[in-house]
């Protein structure tokens, strides 16, 4: 029975997408994954608007002093097991906004990040691979019974 639950966990990753003030380049590419060309629903991926229904948090854009609290809140509302994918240069490291007076840097300054997707903007293929790698992280968390770490 636990085996079935584990397989099911890898077949249905629901993502919630949070934009930390990205330039919209990565956001457009994330939404492009849902279109008929890429069709992530093939892998059971759904873009849900509600963190309480989500398994994977996909973040784009640089973390700054204003949005850190909101980002933390969205992450905290997700039920365990969960994983985080940072999409694009800004979300991974801070990108061109790194060391600006108002920014904190990559989103890993605020929440634990599991997968970094490089690119400016990240390609849809790269985003899909990042999400599917996050699924492996989810599976591992399920197996080891790792509890809330944040």
């Amino acid at each position: 029975m636990m085996g079935i639950l584990q397989t099911a966990a890898t077949k249905s990753p629901w993502i919630v997408h949070f934009d930390c003030g990205s330039c919209n380049g990565c956001d457009i590419e994330i939404l492009a994954c849902l279109t008929p060309l890429y069709d992530v629903e093939r892998f059971g991926v759904l873009n849900v608007g509600n963190p309480k229904h989500a398994d994977i948090l996909v973040v784009s854009g640089t973390a700054n002093y204003r949005n850190a609290r909101v980002l933390r809140n969205v992450y905290d509302q997700m039920p365990w097991p969960k994983a985080v994918v940072a999409v694009g240069a800004c979300a991974s490291t801070g990108g061109i906004f790194r060391n600006c007076y108002n920014t904190l840097g990559g989103v890993d300054k605020v929440i634990p990040v599991d997968v970094y997707v490089p690119g400016c903007a990240a390609k849809p293929e790269a985003i899909m691979e990042g999400v599917l790698q996050a699924v492996q992280v989810l599976e591992k968390r399920k197996e080891t019974g790792e509890t809330y770490a944040g």
Partner: protein, 284 residues
């Protein structure tokens, strides 16, 4: 014998309901020129949700999710045991009431708006459902499904307008676009999922399973109009559900005002015309 029927219903209905949901998602994807998820995707979703953490914002919220499931199961079992149709409708209402109470118990604006919209939806579809049952009573002389099944002619021939009205409210009941405004299905984000926004993990899985039971019940109800011929009934159910998927994909979401007006004015009008017609035909 009854216990066997009850056990078979409880075990088989979610399997059938889940497969219907899977077929629904594949057909929807094909209509949008996508490949779509595997057939068993709804089962993966529910099993995944069962294995997740349950975050509840109020004490009784998870209880209402369980009650929604339990009442839906009881409703379907009553239907399969061929009991009284009026009682079945009341049990169905009780199921929806627990969902509304669950949404109301959470202190979230989206959840509360979703609950209020669901109440309006009940207001819209309930008169049509009761009219259909009363129409069947006028034709067969009984509210009991076991008596209705003994009639050797097709109810649809006597109740065509009521069947049209029923399929119209079926869209509301199955939460298909254009009437999915209390909560919406996968991929849509009306009210950030409205009624179910505060449910997560196992509670959400229970609501999903309850919806499978509900789907099976409603499709059996549609089949009741064609009950004397099994093949025609199955074909009618299939056409009916395909039409729902088609409407779901081509229609934009409407407002509750339009839904209420369209069910109460033209919907109830054709229902009453049909009821008067069968009353005159069989009782005058």
């Amino acid at each position: 014998m009854n216990i066997q029927i009850i056990a078979a219903t409880i075990l088989l209905a979610p399997v059938i309901g889940g497969l219907i949901a899977g077929i629904d998602r594949i057909i929807t994807a094909r209509m949008q020129h996508r490949v779509g998820p595997p057939l068993l995707q709804p089962f993966y979703d529910v099993l995944k949700l069962l294995g997740k953490e349950n975050i509840a914002v109020t004490n009784d919220q998870s209880l209402y999710a369980v009650l929604y499931l339990v009442f839906n199961v009881i409703t379907l079992v009553m239907f399969v045991l061929q009991m009284d149709l009026l009682l079945i409708l009341f049990m169905l209402l009780l199921a929806v009431a627990s969902l509304v109470l669950g949404a109301m118990s959470a202190n979230s604006p989206f959840s509360k708006i979703g609950a209020q919209r669901e109440l309006i939806a009940i207001l819209a579809y309930e008169p049509i459902l009761i009219s259909s049952v009363v129409g069947m009573y006028f034709v067969t002389g009984s509210f009991s499904i076991s008596r209705i099944l003994q009639i050797d002619r097709m109810l649809f021939i006597d109740l065509p307008l009521l069947f049209i009205a029923f399929t119209y409210v079926l869209t509301i009941k199955l939460r298909k676009s254009p009437f999915d405004f209390s909560t919406s299905h996968h991929g849509h984000q009306e009210l950030v999922k409205g009624l179910t926004i505060e449910y997560s993990g196992p509670s959400l899985a229970m609501i999903e399973i309850a919806h499978w039971y509900e789907t099976v019940l409603l499709l059996l109800f549609a089949g009741l109009f064609f009950a004397n011929n099994l093949y025609v009934a199955v074909a009618a159910i299939a056409i009916c559900y395909f039409a729902e998927i088609l409407v779901d994909n081509i229609a934009a979401r409407l407002t509750w005002q339009i839904m209420l007006k369209s069910t109460w004015i033209p919907g109830l009008l054709i229902a009453v015309v049909n009821m008067v017609w069968v009353y005159i035909k069989y009782h005058v």
